[in-house]
Symmetry: none
Subunit: 162 residues, 4 copies
């Protein structure tokens, strides 16, 4: 009888599983290391022209570190901030600055920064989107003001489109 | 005198022990893996019908991961949020949204999110209660709006009652 | 002169970057949640038929948790072992048992288990490969003997091919 | 009396301080981000010519991440291994392969890999030395065989000398 019960539950589970419609394999668009380097070096050039010292991180579609550079004399503490900004931007496909609007005291996702081994919810992290409009990774910049960080990240992310 | 004091404390402790029901082993009501799967797949079906992409986690009475699924294209960052919502709901036997009312600046348990390796205090985590009214686990949902997450979690938790 | 030097280095870097040949976007093949569920439930059925109590984890192409189940009465400690087996199998595209041959004292990658927040180097983790021969994720099983764990993981991974 | 004792200790400490050369600030020789990029991209070119897929990390004199790249299709698990190889090489100013000779069971620093949040004690990590013979950082490579990793790291480290 126990076997019968299990068989019934298994059948129920399989019907539920099959009744969904995503039957074909997913194709993920992922940035290449050449694209990552291009984003990184364009962002670095932008930072140099603006005379801002930053750390720049690029993650792939799986939010794994793909490329990184720390400019001379930039903050040591910005290594982790830049990486976490890039990861946060890909974890939730969002401009990290927009996330911050929701995580303040009274916000709808207050203190979400404590998940995922630490998120960053202020500007400087952006998804990287390809010409077809697909998110293929993300960039995170830390070391300047939040406006400077966002501008440098934007320059890096846009480099993929040209 | 110190020995006397200890003896008195010991007697007090024994009286406490006898007056409680702790002489018999505890019976914990714990959800089965079939119940966990049923909650998970019912929540997933609800999410699909609502066209919301979510991560769903179910934990047992011991707040240990029992079942999990991440829908295609749902946020990578929601893996950890869903699991932490389920754990939070069972850690304190509470709707995670209600916890958030108490953790704001000035709240009575301000920043409790920092304990337990990270709690989540916004909606989407709910205890799972059986037909006898016992808490047997919890479910956590992340990926939609907080209202969507709560509705999907509710559908999953209710599946255990039928 | 400093600008000249930087310009020269930048040109050098760009030439190096451009001289590689991966100019097109990468396409990653990633398992769907339906495939993950199919692998999970087939593995679970195999475990039930063999009367072995296990934890089963499936990760996607990015080594992120995609599906998980813990069978009733299986080891609590196997939750993390199953997840780490699946992650390890995808991190290095390898049968975790084969990794163990290399990590013993005197082995060429002795103690690599200490990286990546903890790897598992004994049997029970396997890459999941699709019909086209692409690695699309991995499965990890823990709770039985290593031979049982490997057999159950194999059943789960093979389910994707039919 | 206690004050007297403290005064004596204070005097002793001052004598020690004066008798050392600590009166002048230390000059640390640290690699620049341009040098880090040069080492990184030379190593990458070497890997491409050898048709090996690797992750490459460069750390500065303070063992902090300075530059990183992950080649397409290289192991996800090698991100952390490459970074830990570079850090290990600088933490102890050593070829990581030489460290492994000492950390085996019975070795003089058995299991030192457990310190520093995880060390790597097999080949692929090398100090980066400048023309004056000063260690200015380190490079770590992971993804090929240990011989390939060491050869690619060597190519990267040598790029600083020309």
């Amino acid at each position: 009888m126990n076997i019968l019960k299990n068989a019934k539950i298994y059948a129920f589970v399989m019907i539920l599983a099959i009744s969904s419609n995503a039957s074909h394999a997913q194709i993920t668009n992922d940035l290449t290391h050449d694209e990552a380097l291009k984003a990184l070096l364009t962002a670095k050039k932008n930072a140099e022209e603006s005379k801002v010292l930053v750390n720049i991180a690029v993650v792939d579609a799986g939010a794994n570190l793909k490329a990184f550079i720390r400019m001379d004399e930039s903050y040591l503490g910005s290594i982790d901030v830049a990486i976490k900004k890039a990861k946060t931007a890909r974890y939730f496909n969002i401009d990290t600055g927009k996330l911050g609007e929701l995580t303040q005291p009274g916000g709808i996702i207050y203190n979400i920064e404590l998940t995922n081994n630490g998120l960053v919810s202020f500007p400087g992290g952006l998804p990287i989107i390809n010409k077809e409009g697909k998110i293929i990774g993300a960039i995170g910049v830390s070391g300047g003001t939040i406006d400077q960080d966002r501008a440098i990240a934007t320059a890096g992310a846009k480099a993929i489109l040209y």
